[in-house]
């Protein structure tokens, strides 16, 4: 199945891309998707920071099981305001 990934801020810069579509196996979790992306975008790997995970504009846990067409965002530490 396919999911859509959006990269923002430091992750966008490190990935060198704002968006990606990724083919993953049914039932993959958000954490597993992150592992796969680190292989596709090696510069994401050394990013040692606390990430939050959002699916379809809501925060989810790392073990959230993805579904076809989900929009996934790995959220670096926010710093608005």
């Amino acid at each position: 199945m396919k999911v859509k990934v959006k990269f923002f801020a430091i992750l966008r810069e490190r990935a060198g891309a704002a968006e990606a579509t990724k083919e993953i196996r049914e039932g993959s979790t958000v954490a597993e998707l992150w592992e796969l992306l680190q292989r596709d975008y090696p510069r994401l790997a050394p990013v040692r920071m606390r990430l939050l995970y959002a699916v379809n504009q809501d925060y989810v846990n790392a073990d959230y099981a993805l579904k076809e067409g989900d929009e996934v965002v790995f959220v670096p530490p926010v710093s608005g305001g």
Binding site: Q57, V78, G80
Partner: protein, 143 residues
């Protein structure tokens, strides 16, 4: 009114939005770009957002404030893109019958924005630039 925008924020528009005949108090918070940070001379801040989710989170925290305090209306507008020294990056306006509620809800809103709303600032300073908040060296981990 919960909005992310590339334009300059209009304080009067927010205050007009929260003005209410039942309100005796309006508190506003304006976050402005400061010319220095941690010893660095700041040139500008450059904000990026996940806009759909940022607006959803702003709305959610406005609803949460409405549960915790007796407020009349709330408006939050966050700017993205470059924000020069002295310019507002975020404005919050809250009206309430009584001032304590307006102060506390406004303070809550800015604290929550800094915790949970997917907006990021890059500081452009003399000699470089840095994404704020990512320098903790913490391992990958859910909060």
């Amino acid at each position: 009114m919960f909005r992310v925008t590339r334009n300059a924020i209009d304080l009067q528009e927010l205050v007009a939005f929260v003005t209410d005949p039942e309100a005796g108090a309006i508190v506003t918070f304006i976050g402005t770009t400061r010319n220095n940070n941690e010893g660095r001379k700041v040139i500008a801040l450059d904000y990026e957002a996940y806009p759909e989710m940022a607006e959803k989170e702003l709305k959610r925290l406005g609803e949460e404030a409405g549960k915790r305090w007796r407020i009349q209306r709330m408006a939050i507008v966050h700017r993205i893109g470059p924000v020069q020294i002295t310019e507002p990056s975020v404005i919050i306006a809250v009206s309430a019958a009584h001032r304590a509620d307006a102060f506390e809800a406004c303070r809550f809103a800015i604290e929550e924005i800094k915790k949970s709303v997917p907006i990021w600032k890059k500081e452009v300073f003399e000699g470089g630039e840095v994404w704020i908040g990512t320098q903790s060296g913490q391992p990958l981990n859910r909060y």
